[in-house]
Amino acid sequence: MDLLGLANYAVFMAILIGIYALLALGLNIQWGFTGLFNAGIAGFFAVGAYASAILTSLPASGRLGGYELPLVVGWLAAMAAAALIAWPIGKICLRFRSDYLAIATIGVAEIIRLVIRTEGWLTGGVRGVTGIPRPFGDLDYMPSQIAYLAIVATLVLVAYLLVERQVKSPWGRMMRAIRDNELAAAAMGKQVEARRLQAFVFGSALMGLAGALFVHFNRSVTPEAIDPMIATFLIWIMLILGGSGNNRGAILGAAVIWIIWSVSELLTDRLPTEVAVQAKYARVFIIGLTLQLVLRFRPEGILPERQPGAPPHR
């Protein structure tokens, strides 16, 4: 057996897990710590992806872009753009119970998708943006993958440390108090809305960054990347499985679910042709069922939230 091939696959999987971990961390800030049901992750992911793509890509006729700015600028812009979109949405929707926010964010993600598909002058429309630089992209396959993994891993680590610090600060304690106790939330009044908005915007910015990392990895982006199945619902399942309210849980959930999702295909590939196509639909069934089983038997996730003051989980 070819170990090099397996290693290549593992590196690739790790890169995607890193990108999903960023999305899950972003969602954890919104849902895990604050209780905000964002069902439009794909929208913020897309905004970040396109913002960075437009700013850093090679020039192309018929659309905005070709500024060839440095990557860091693109990534910062991705976070800023996602945050900028999140702000008015949060402003409108955070007053309501989470179901409304869920529906509203699905709607917003859908509008973002339609704008990206239709406004060719801005985003290249259905053809997307190509010619996006990838750091260390000129190296050979393996070194280039490893270099990209290093970048992604570093950013995940930085994001993790930042979020952990934030959560352990008075801000984080307050957010949890608000989430767990509506009365306390009401008593704190206006400030609560501001704090929730901060969490929503901060989480969305991380999602934007994940989008940027994704497009630089693929060197291209098209509207198909904004598929709610893969860019919204899978993230939810990752967070719930890993343990919402626990940042390590979010990262672990991203790893476990992506491995299940990816490896389940290796298994269905071994099936005879007649059932192989059917088995691909069954994969969607399995994801749905996994969610049910987690909710039923391990609703707190693999790594449950640590209560402040309680001994750390082992």
């Binding site: 098209t222 198909e224 598929d227 490896v263 290796l266 042709t273 994969r283």
Partner: protein, 401 residues
């Protein structure tokens, strides 16, 4: 504990993969990346079946290289780049495929080429990615397609309509890379030839009603509606609602509309005014071969992208045979087997091709879906015919220029 868990999981997964993938030394694998789930799910099963037919032909007629078995690994690219790159990475690294047939959607092709196939040096032949962006890829000559970029067909269709005396049309296109690409090139060519567009509008898939769009298009006064969409999808709805409301007299579609399901659903008696263009091979004997075999396999011969899927897999096999299994020579070998000059090879003629290659003779594959004379970018110029509905299927009425 977390690191241990992850390490454990990864270990278990890799272990499972090792056990699950026994490889025989002589066997060769290619990856089939169909968009089985996702927005164009309806197109995927016939495409996968066509590619598998090519693989079956290879194995029935002497196998590949030294009597090895050609194996097709079926992956789901789901029409999105996340799944496509994942499934391609597995195909390339775990299954060690030498070539990839697919992915189906252009966005997935771009991402897969950029982040998997080209860096890993694997040949990629897409049977349905039509975006002009694919032409522009910096692909080290590893990315090919067995159907023309949208550009050709749109322009050919525009010229054909003009030649048939149609001066004024309305265009309804599906807002994806396929529909929009065709619509743009059609528009440019039709207007350049002095035609008038009385209406031009895109639509999103999956809406329950398109009557208001159609009414608005009809208001332009054209008798002909050009539909760039899929006959197994929204195109069917558009055509039905136009017919039922009497918005237009004549309907013209591109290859995506050439669906037998559409004829079955609407009824041939209602489709007198419905025409489609579709790519055809010069040697139509090749298409006949394919149709016969495909029908015998229980499939519908008018399925969209079936011929191109067959050709992509067959070409991949030919290239591997020619290159003697050497990955580095695949691109060069593909050009050698697909392009003139050489002894013509029709669809299904694997044994003959294998023998000629063994004898060191040059061959030229004439595919079911076209002759596949690749240009420098790995694109093929299209040859098209104009079809009308006949019985439960389609019948060619004219060649197109």
């Amino acid at each position: 504990m977390k690191r241990k868990t992850i390490a454990g999981l990864v270990g278990a997964v890799l272990g499972a993969a090792v056990v699950a993938a026994p490889a025989h030394a002589q066997d060769v694998k290619i990856g089939l990346m169909a968009a089985i789930s996702g927005p164009i799910a309806a197109l995927a099963p016939p495409m996968a079946a066509a590619s598998k037919l090519a693989v079956a032909h290879v194995n029935e007629q002497g196998g590949i290289l030294n009597g090895g078995k050609l194996e097709a690994v079926l992956g789901d690219s789901a029409c999105n780049p996340q799944n496509a790159t994942d499934t391609a990475t597995k195909a390339v690294n775990i299954d060690r495929v030498l070539a990839i047939v697919g992915p189906a959607c252009s966005g997935a092709v771009l991402a897969t080429a950029n982040s998997v196939a080209v860096p890993a040096g694997v040949l990629l032949i897409t049977p349905s990615g039509t975006s002009p962006e694919i032409t522009k890829l910096a692909d080290k000559d590893l990315v090919f397609r067995t159907l023309p970029s949208d550009d050709y067909q749109g322009r050919a269709l525009a010229r054909t309509l003009k030649a048939r005396g149609i001066e004024k049309v309305a265009v309804a296109y599906l807002n994806n890379d396929y529909g929009k690409g065709l619509a743009e090139s059609f528009k440019a060519e039709f207007e350049a030839n002095g035609g008038t567009l009385a209406g031009y509008s895109g639509h999103e898939e999956g809406k329950a009603s398109y009557r208001s769009e159609l009414a608005t298009l009809a208001r332009g006064g054209a008798d002909t509606l050009v539909i760039f969409d899929y006959g197994d999808g929204t195109g069917l709805t558009i055509l039905r609602q136009s017919l039922e409301n009497g918005f237009f007299k004549t309907f013209v579609g591109a290859d995506g509309m050439k669906s037998e399901g559409l004829v079955k659903s609407i009824g041939a008696q209602n489709l007198d005014g419905f025409f489609v263009s579709a790519p055809v091979g010069e040697a139509s004997a090749s298409l006949d071969n394919f149709n016969k075999a495909y029908k015998a396999a229980g499939e519908n011969i008018d399925a969209v992208f079936a011929t191109t899927s067959y050709d992509a897999a067959f070409l991949a096999a030919l290239a591997i045979e020619k290159a003697g299994g050497d990955k580095a020579k695949l691109a060069e070998s593909l050009r050698a087997v697909a392009m003139a000059p050489g002894e013509p090879i029709m669809a299904g003629e694997w044994a003959k091709a294998k023998q000629l290659i063994a004898e060191g003779k040059d061959i030229d594959y004439k595919g079911a879906g076209g002759d596949h004379e690749f240009d420098a970018a790995g694109d093929v110029p299209g040859k098209y015919a104009f079809f009308k509905v006949s019985g439960t299927g389609y019948e060619s009425v004219a060649d197109m220029q």
